[in-house]
């Protein structure tokens, strides 16, 4: 123990944050839903639900299912659309002194570009997170995030439309995540979000129907943490842009694991559903760890894994 007061402030991919803890897209709404529990100003960044060019209705029900230490979701990107977001959701977030990162999605490259242009012109967007990995969509039968060429094309396109920091969110459902990571880096991404949900499924044995109307869905929560950590470490060793680590982070200790594996920042997802204060608890947990280990900042921790 000693008296160094660690500073959690960091700059990740050009986004200046008070601490390295974000909320994961789709698990924190548009921020307003959590103000009874959290001072948004204390977060590193708020990442909002995936936005598309026009409002999407989403998938039919059931949409979620609990699995051992995890949950499956197939929401189908129900969202208000980029115009609705800018008109109805963004103004509220401008009341806070916290970077707002907008997660965007689409079925065609053109849709991504349209959303990007509108967000680039809007006031109060700190960065764009490109979701090329939503497991509940079928962009020509396969999502962008599993093909390095499609990734390159899409990221280059979006890069051309904005000067905002650009994060690219990678899918775990690939043979070699470093290939996609390098494609995104090469195409101009400023940072990588690792990982989105793993594709999974569950069945009701009495009705013999899938537990999700969409049949398959994205697995999140502690169950996928080992997979997420492995991928963060792989990507860390493959690229030189910063990584936002996520997948099953429930507390500060989980977050520290991601940092040691190579994450410059982390995002808290499913944990928000179980504990609405989870993201701030993670901030506090990280602070305590740094204090306990006499570290002034988190930077020395990033990628500090000692391999035997």
């Amino acid at each position: 123990m000693n008296n160094i007061q660690p500073s959690l402030e960091i700059d990740v991919a050009g986004i200046r944050m008070k601490n390295p803890v974000m909320t994961a897209s789709g698990t924190f709404g548009y921020g307003s839903e959590y103000v009874d529990f959290i001072d948004l100003n204390k977060l590193g960044a708020v990442v909002v639900k995936g936005i598309t060019s026009v409002p999407w209705a989403g998938n039919s029900m059931p949409r979620i299912f609990e699995t051992p230490s995890g949950m499956l979701n197939a929401i189908g990107l129900q969202n208000v659309g980029v115009d609705g977001f800018i008109d109805k959701k963004l103004p509220y977030l401008r009341n806070f002194d916290v970077p707002v990162i907008v997660n965007i999605c689409g079925e065609q490259v053109g849709e991504y570009l349209e959303v990007t242009e509108k967000l680039d012109a809007a006031d109060g967007v700190a960065a764009i997170e490109l979701n090329i990995s939503c497991p509940n969509l079928h962009c020509g039968g396969m999502s962008f995030g599993v093909d390095p060429k499609l990734t390159d094309e899409l990221v280059k396109g979006v890069r051309g439309k904005t000067t905002l920091p650009l994060l690219v969110k990678l899918s775990p459902n690939v043979t070699d995540i470093t290939v996609i990571a390098r494609a995104a880096e090469g195409a101009g991404a400023d940072g990588l979000s690792v990982i989105n949900t793993a594709l999974g499924m569950a069945i009701d044995i009495n009705t013999r129907r899938p537990q999700l109307a969409n049949v398959t869905g994205g697995l999140s929560g502690p169950a996928i943490k080992p997979i997420a950590l492995r991928m963060v470490w792989q990507v860390y060793n493959a690229v030189s842009i910063p990584i936002i680590g996520m997948g099953g982070i429930m507390n500060g200790e989980d977050a520290i694991e991601f940092c040691i594996a190579g994450a410059a920042a982390v995002a808290v997802g499913t944990a928000n559903f179980i504990n609405p204060r989870a993201s701030l608890d993670v901030v506090e947990g990280i602070t305590e760890y740094l204090e306990r280990h006499g570290m002034r900042s988190i930077e020395k921790l990033v990628g500090s894994l000692e391999v035997p």
Partner: protein
């Protein structure tokens, strides 16, 4: 009916947790902030204690409010309610609430016909109390598998609500569905400004909706669905709601609901 109540996530202790009917328990705990704001139909999202191996919380309607204390009346369904039922006095739980919207009760219905199937009646108890406080005339219709599982009849009668019973096996009251009882009562009672309030299994709610439409009586349903966050962010709990425009929208049971107008639900 959308009410932006301030929400709390409170650590608290179980005061009591008793078997009140076969397979059904009543859990009491002290949550002053939630008790203060709770409206009829609203619910809490309960964190099953650490180490239970379950990830997500479980939603339950606030059954009664007495001073600082709230109760929930719940049925054993799966692992979560099983762990809940094993909790003893002074065991810790966390309670998030009050959540969701509330029932519309003005202009005062005459009568209010409350229809509960199984544990569904739990969602209607605070409503019944509020109606009585407002001096509204209310009838209680309680459906159950059998007499051993019958819930809430005494609680309803204690606040002066005329209560009718239906059981699947005829062990007490009407032998058959509570929806049959509903039809019978609509046929036999004088009604000025009737309103149906219902909660129960999907099958029952569909029949209630049909009856309400047939008789042109407005009906409000307390809906249930699997829940993730219960705060409106995961979009996991939606139901399909008819829009005035003619289309539909997926609305969140935890936020736009749990109470919906029966005619708006697309099953």
């Amino acid at each position: 009916m959308l009410v932006p109540t301030k929400k709390f996530d409170l650590p608290t202790e179980v005061i009591s947790n008793e078997l009140v009917a076969e397979n059904h328990y009543l859990l009491r705990c002290s949550c002053p902030e939630i008790a203060a704001g709770a409206l009829p139909g609203q619910f809490i999202h309960v964190l099953i204690p650490q180490g239970s191996g379950l990830l997500l919380r479980r939603p339950f309607t606030i059954y009664t409010v007495e001073g600082d204390e709230i109760t929930m009346l719940y049925q054993l369904i799966g692992e979560g309610t099983n762990v809940l039922s094993s909790l003893k006095r002074s065991d810790s739980i966390r309670v998030l609430g009050p959540l969701g919207n509330t029932f519309e009760i003005s202009p005062a219905p005459d009568p209010a016909v409350i229809v509960g199937g199984g544990a569904g009646i739990a969602s209607l108890m605070l409503l019944a109390a509020a109606l009585r406080e407002n001096g509204a005339h209310a009838l209680g219709l309680v459906g159950s598998m059998n007499s051993a599982r019958l819930l809430s009849v005494e609680d309803l009668e204690a606040i002066g609500i005329e209560t009718y019973i239906a059981t699947d096996d005829g062990s007490v009251g009407h032998h058959g569905f509570v929806t049959e009882l509903l039809m019978e009562i609509l046929e036999t009672h004088e009604m000025k400004n009737p309103q149906i309030y219902a909660c129960g299994p999907d099958g029952m709610l569909r029949v209630v909706t049909k009856i309400a439409l047939d008789y042109r009586i407005p009906a409000q349903l307390a809906m249930e669905n699997r829940m993730g966050c219960a705060l409106g962010v995961c979009l996991g709990c939606v139901c399909k709601v008819r829009m005035p425009s003619g289309g539909f929208e997926y609305q969140r049971v935890c936020t736009e609901g749990p109470v919906f107008n029966a005619e708006d639900i697309i099953w």
